[in-house]
């Protein structure tokens, strides 16, 4: 038997399906569990979630802890953190990972505080490694890697003396594994014990809007920045995207200027993307934006300023005015495609 506890992924339910980031975490969790030589478990809280538990096994979980109870039909902080905290106290996992979604960022700190354990927010990478402090060597610790200071530094955080080690992980930065049909695992039912304080917050109404754009699955993204100049000029970005069959992205500055809806924002506070082709039009390339797109396979940057930082992550550059270059690009693409 391994001296380590299990690796857990909190499987978030989003509109009746498993959240994408939870599947991504199963991929990473599999890797971490392999290094530690322990099982990978998913924890799912909800109502009528049995079919989802089966899916979690197909995506790589060896064990699924399932708290299936009608009182958990909708996420609220107190009952969810209560059930999860009790379960962690009982099973003593080594690592617990959450998506850095509104739910994950509401739940994880509450659980960490109750358990008096460490929590690192919004990680972009996780590794297993050692940590040395005051002459003591800690081995096989979770290295929690995240940007800080507005993305200007990358910090590696460890929680050497406490268990479980916990982190929330940014959506879109890790790869979801392919599901394996017929993969087997164990589903363990978790009893749900709640008390009256769990009723302190009630959801009276909930409205959801579908995302206007699915940037994460787009293989081509044409993104515009403040350098587009106006909402009217931003139309060129839409036109180029239409010609290429790509999705439209934007920098925060373009969103703040009102050129386009925030759903299109790429970057640290928007969506993290890695398409086959990313065309950055009039985007200077602030560190917060680069953090969300620099892993794209090919990056084309168009900007009037040859010193713009975007050129340092780009593979191809055109120094020129977007209002002039984009129509020429559209013409050239139409001739080739």
């Amino acid at each position: 038997m391994s001296q380590h506890g299990e690796v857990w992924v909190y499987a978030e339910v989003d509109d009746g399906a498993i959240a994408g980031v939870s599947l991504e975490l199963l991929g990473k969790g599999r890797e971490l569990a392999g290094i530690l030589g322990v099982p990978l478990a998913a924890v799912i809280l909800g109502s009528g979630t049995r079919p989802l538990a089966e899916q979690l096994i197909a995506y790589g979980a060896d064990i699924v802890y399932s708290a299936d109870d009608e009182r958990l039909a909708q996420y609220t902080t107190l009952p969810f953190s209560r059930v999860l905290t009790d379960l962690i106290r009982e099973k003593k996992p080594e690592i617990v990972l959450y998506g850095a979604t509104p739910v994950g960022r509401d739940l994880a700190p509450r659980v960490a505080s109750a358990l008096k354990t460490g929590l690192t927010a919004d990680c972009t990478d996780l590794q297993i490694g050692s940590y040395e402090s005051a002459g003591r060597l800690y081995q096989k610790k979770l290295l929690q890697i995240r940007p800080a200071w507005g993305g200007n530094i990358i910090a590696t955080i460890v929680s050497p003396d406490v268990l479980p080690e916990m982190a929330t992980v940014r959506e879109g930065v890790m790869h979801a594994p392919d599901p394996v049909e017929g993969r087997t695992g164990t589903i363990i039912d978790v009893p749900v014990v709640l008390d009256s304080e769990c009723d302190f917050v009630r959801v009276i109404e909930r409205h959801t809007q579908p995302r206007r754009v699915d940037l994460r699955s787009a293989s081509i993204i044409v993104a515009g920045g403040y350098g587009m100049g106006s909402k009217e000029n931003f139309q060129l970005v839409h036109e180029l995207a239409a010609v290429l069959g790509g999705a439209v992205g934007a920098s925060r500055a373009a969103v703040d200027a009102g050129f386009i809806h925030a759903d299109h924002q790429v970057g640290q506070t928007g969506t993290t993307v890695r398409p086959k082709l990313y065309i950055a039009c009039g985007i200077s390339g602030a560190v917060q934006h680069r953090a969300g797109m620099e892993e794209s396979a090919k990056i084309i940057a168009i900007n009037t300023d040859p010193e713009a930082p975007i050129f340092q992550v780009a593979h191809y550059g055109i120094i020129g005015d977007v209002r002039d270059v984009i129509p020429r690009l559209i013409k050239a693409f139409k001739g080739k495609l």
Binding site: S113, A121, S133, N152
Partner: protein
């Protein structure tokens, strides 16, 4: 019943305004050159508190934990309309992570500020972007939390009706008081400091500032404090003993997370291939993309 509203605020480096001057020649940020500002979303929390006070009556108390200079944001809070401000500052609080910070703040509230109706704080601070201290303070206080709370629609007896803005979803929730809310920037536009209050609080001082001044003026600290108190200008300053903190739970010893390594982000500098902005240049770029199968 007048409300007691506690606002949690933080002084942070202005990471959103990294200009050329704070970039070092190697492309990394000179952190000491960043200005210290009122964390933007904490200003939204303060504004929400002040509006609630105007609607329902009561008092707004602002607490910050930080080094002595963090008193700047407390003075700012007074000038925007806060009734009372508290500086939590002690060398032993230094290097706190979110768990130690939430313990210290909760301890201060439980020792001196009970009972209260609401705790408000910004959704997150722009230095760490963790969004953890709010929920952790709520847990330590044993109260409910509502994150992403962008409107308080009504206070109905013992319950608060709140709108949450979750980006793709909106919720209306009913929460039992006392409750902690984390407030996003979409909540409101913070008011500016008031000219009359700026004049009034020009001479407000924390215990640290009093110490330095008393020495300069050759007066006793107690004397100066008594004088300031009389005029409502003394900023309460609490250390570990004042809040009965267990020393093992504050600062570095109370922080389970440790920083193993910090790396500056340096622009990678790829092999950039430049094409001219004319038709010839653009055609050859498109040809290259087709040849290397970026398309099809």
């Amino acid at each position: 019943m007048p409300l007691r509203i506690i606002v949690l605020a933080k002084q942070v480096p202005d990471t959103k305004n990294v200009t050329g001057e704070v970039m070092k020649p190697d492309g990394t940020v000179n952190r000491n050159a960043l200005a210290a500002i009122f964390n933007p979303e904490d200003l939204n929390a303060l504004e929400m508190g002040l509006e609630l006070k105007e609607r329902y009556g009561g008092e707004v108390i602002v607490i910050t934990m930080g080094p002595p200079r963090a008193v700047e944001i407390l003075k700012d809070s007074l000038c925007r309309g806060a009734d009372r401000v508290i500086l939590l500052s002690d060398r032993r609080f230094a290097a706190s992570d979110t768990l130690a910070t939430s313990y210290t703040i909760a301890q201060a509230i439980q020792t001196h500020l009970m009972p209260f109706d609401m705790v408000l704080c910004g959704r997150q601070a722009i230095d760490g972007d963790t969004a953890q201290v709010g929920p952790q303070v709520a847990e330590k206080l044993g109260i409910a939390q509502v994150t992403f709370a962008d409107r308080v629609l009504a206070i109905e007896g013992e319950c608060v009706r709140i709108r949450r803005d979750l980006g793709r979803a909106q919720e209306i929730v009913l929460a039992r008081k006392p409750v902690l809310l984390t407030v996003p920037k979409s909540a409101n536009s913070p008011r500016w400091p008031n000219a009359r209050l700026l004049l009034k609080y020009r001479r407000a001082r924390s215990a640290f500032e009093v110490e330095a001044e008393a020495k300069r003026q050759g007066r006793s600290v107690d004397d100066v404090v008594a004088d300031l108190r009389k005029r409502g200008l003394f900023i309460e300053t609490w250390g570990a003993e004042d809040i009965n903190a267990e020393l093992a739970r504050v600062g570095i010893s109370g922080s389970p997370t440790k920083v193993k390594k910090v790396e500056n982000v340096v622009l990678a500098g790829r092999n950039l291939k430049l094409y001219s902005a004319d038709d010839d240049g653009i055609r050859s770029l498109v040809t290259e993309l087709v040849e290397e199968r970026t398309f099809g």
